[in-house]
């Protein structure tokens, strides 16, 4: 008989695991403290506020462009009878063709903006070759695609600037000595990483919500439901994409002596990763292709394209891979950190 007792977890063990002095509990304690400390730190808040401000500003510009396009699409005649003359692709004395096709009655203008051939389309889809992905993306509100595109490019930079100093700052102030007597270095570093990951995830979510708010304010046919649904698809992907970069930031932070050095090392690392990825893409077909491919596998950028795929079955494994890469970089940092003088 399958009695409840046969499946019951021994309570003291479980309680001890979560609330006793265990690595798991210590990591959670450090993470919670890190998160609260960052939320009260003026410097950290200033950096995060700047990021949000930049997100708001760029999305405002983007939405303003959308707004103008919407207005133009509603009055195609203005486009068809636009200026005449020898522009590129036009013939002297004849009016140019419409820049954008009018919106079908059952489709909001955001769909038009992602049709192939439009400038916006080219920007977004330059990274995506899969037709399923293109169809999937066409259904997403452009503001979220813009949010994802910008985040995939600038979120790593924010991580290097804001998170790379977290452990190094503790070394510089020697505040780490208060903690190092009370818990292991692995718990300390992992807790710090976890706290930073939570903070960064919250910041990207805020940035996404900020983009949606601006879109709701400026665009007439914006619907919150579609926007939030799309944000819930892309926000986790953006957050997970940041994990390997956070891992690299932690690696630098654990093994440098000052906050400035850690940040510099993180930014140099980021630049090197980017350049390496570009080189690997360029020389993928050369004799060194397989070797470069293995190296590229360790770089977060090589996993980015799959995050645009519609299905979680496609994007999920890449997200797991990115999370694993992040943990791997932290572990590499720990290999050195556990032996260094504090």
């Amino acid at each position: 008989m399958w009695g409840a007792a046969q499946f019951s977890v021994p309570r003291p063990f479980f309680t001890n695991l979560m609330f006793g002095p265990t690595p798991l509990r210590d990591t959670a304690l450090v993470a919670g403290f890190e998160l609260r400390e960052m939320l009260r730190s003026r410097k950290a808040l200033a950096i995060l506020a700047l990021y949000l401000l930049a997100a708001a500003f760029t999305s405002y510009i983007f939405v303003s462009v959308l707004e103008n396009i919407q207005a133009a699409v509603r009055n195609p005649a203005a486009l068809i009878t636009g200026p005449t003359g020898g522009g590129r692709g036009g013939q002297p004395g004849r009016p140019r063709g419409p820049v954008f096709a009018p919106s079908p009655p059952d489709k909001p203008s955001q769909g038009i903006l992602t049709q192939r051939g439009s400038p916006f389309n080219r920007v977004i889809f330059s990274q995506v070759a899969d037709p399923d992905a293109r169809d999937f993306l066409e259904k997403q509100p452009p503001i979220i695609l813009f949010f994802a595109l910008v985040s995939f490019n600038f979120f790593p930079l924010l991580i290097m600037i804001a998170s790379a100093e977290t452990v190094a700052q503790e070394h510089q102030s020697r505040g780490v000595r208060f903690v190092a007597m009370r818990t292991g270095r692995a718990e300390f570093a992992l807790g710090k990483a976890l706290g930073q990951a939570a903070l960064m995830a919250a910041v990207t979510l805020l940035a996404g919500l900020l983009c949606l708010t601006i879109a709701a304010w400026k665009l007439e046919d914006f619907t919150w439901g579609a926007g939030l649904r799309s944000l819930l698809v892309f926000w986790p992907r953006v957050a997970v994409f940041g994990l390997p970069f956070l891992g690299i930031a932690m690696l630098c932070s654990m093994n440098t002596g000052s906050a400035m050095m850690a940040r510099a090392a993180g930014l140099i690392g980021l630049a090197l990763l980017f350049v390496a990825h570009q080189l690997v893409e360029k020389y993928a077909d050369s004799a060194f292709g397989p070797v470069l491919g293995v190296l590229d596998f360790l770089a977060p950028y090589s996993h980015r394209d799959d995050l645009w795929l519609p299905s979680w079955n496609d994007a999920g494994p890449q997200m797991l891979m990115l999370a694993g890469l992040g943990l791997g970089y932290v572990c590499v940092g720990l290999l050195f950190y556990r032996r260094r003088d504090l």
Partner: protein
């Protein structure tokens, strides 16, 4: 000098060496700290005191030698969590958290339960007289208050070994006195190692001391032995007769030296059962007074400061026998 689990040593260093590049901070340091003692660590700047502390706390790793903390080998957070605490010299607590939050965080990390931590933090806040600042952010505290928070966190829970690096540095005289009294009251209940440049403080608070210079222990032992309180009496005479021969005759077997410029008689003796320092002092005074000498002052041993100043500036000498 091994400090096994049942050993009477709280801390044992054996031939410990540590270098920072070309700078040799510890050059074969030997140290034995008895359990339950209040142990003073004294030495000039750069002598190796902070390095000794740091190795003991696991912040630094020794290049060579054996370290044994509470009979459990070198410091390990898993083994020594909550049993060993410290006040580091120049370490800063998180500036944006409140005093209470800091103490709760550190206390929880060292294993104090969620139910007990509130009461424990209140006890510590009262101890360091910071109850009224508990809700203030650390960044708003003065240097002295920060020091008190640092001392408070070192006494969270029930640690067996507490290391205090310049504990009263920056405290006003009343607070410093309070901390000294608290430390002295801990004698016998836990081991406390105090590093300080304030030799009077070490002498009044500690019962054992080690003088360190250039990464080696120059002198170590009970304070009474190091200062000679149990082996030396100095009697200063006012103008008048100096009955040196009568005194030597009364103290057969002991050493009697006369420092004419200082007009001081120094008596060196071995304490024996039934013949303590008080007995020797009495014998000497009786002989002196009988011969008509006028006594200015009587002192047992030399101050720790005097001993410290007598430390040779060159290569540290070998340890004297029994010290």
């Amino acid at each position: 000098m091994s400090a096994g689990p049942d050993s009477d040593l709280a801390l044992a260093f054996r031939a410990v060496r540590k270098s920072y590049g070309r700078i040799r901070a510890l050059q074969g340091l030997d140290l034995a700290v008895p359990r339950g003692s209040v142990f003073g660590l004294v030495g000039p700047n750069g002598a190796g005191k902070t390095t000794t502390f740091s190795i003991c706390c696991g912040w630094l790793r020794a290049d060579e030698g054996d370290v044994d903390v509470l009979g459990g080998g070198p410091f390990d957070a898993a083994r020594h969590r909550g049993r060993v605490t410290a006040l580091p010299q120049d370490s800063a607590l998180g500036r944006d958290m409140t005093v209470r939050e800091q103490l709760v965080y550190l206390g929880r990390l060292q294993g104090i339960g969620a139910r007990e931590i509130r009461g424990e933090v209140e006890r510590i806040l009262e101890l360091v007289d910071l109850k009224d600042r508990a809700r203030d952010r650390v960044r708003t505290l003065s240097h002295g208050m920060l020091r008190r928070v640092g001392i408070g966190q070192a006494f969270l829970g029930d640690p067996e070994l507490v290391l205090l690096d310049e504990a009263t540095n920056g405290l006003d005289p009343r607070q410093a006195h309070g901390i000294r009294e608290f430390i002295r009251a801990q004698r016998g209940t836990r081991t406390i190692i105090v590093s300080s440049h304030n030799l009077h403080e070490i002498e009044t608070v500690c019962d054992h001391v080690a003088l360190i210079d250039r990464g080696r222990v120059v002198m170590a032992g009970p304070i009474s032995t190091v200062t000679g309180r149990d082996a030396e009496v100095r009697i200063t005479l006012a103008d008048g007769p100096v009955p040196l021969a009568e005194t030597r005759a009364a103290l057969t077997g002991d050493t009697v030296e006369w420092d004419a410029p200082a007009r001081t008689l120094t008596l060196r003796f071995q304490e024996k059962p039934g013949r303590a320092a008080e007995d020797v002092t009495g014998e000497a005074l009786r002989a002196l007074l009988a011969a008509g000498a006028r006594i200015s002052s009587v002192a047992r041993g030399q101050s720790l400061e005097r001993r410290y100043l007598e430390m040779p500036a060159g290569e540290p000498p070998p340890l004297p026998p029994g010290v």
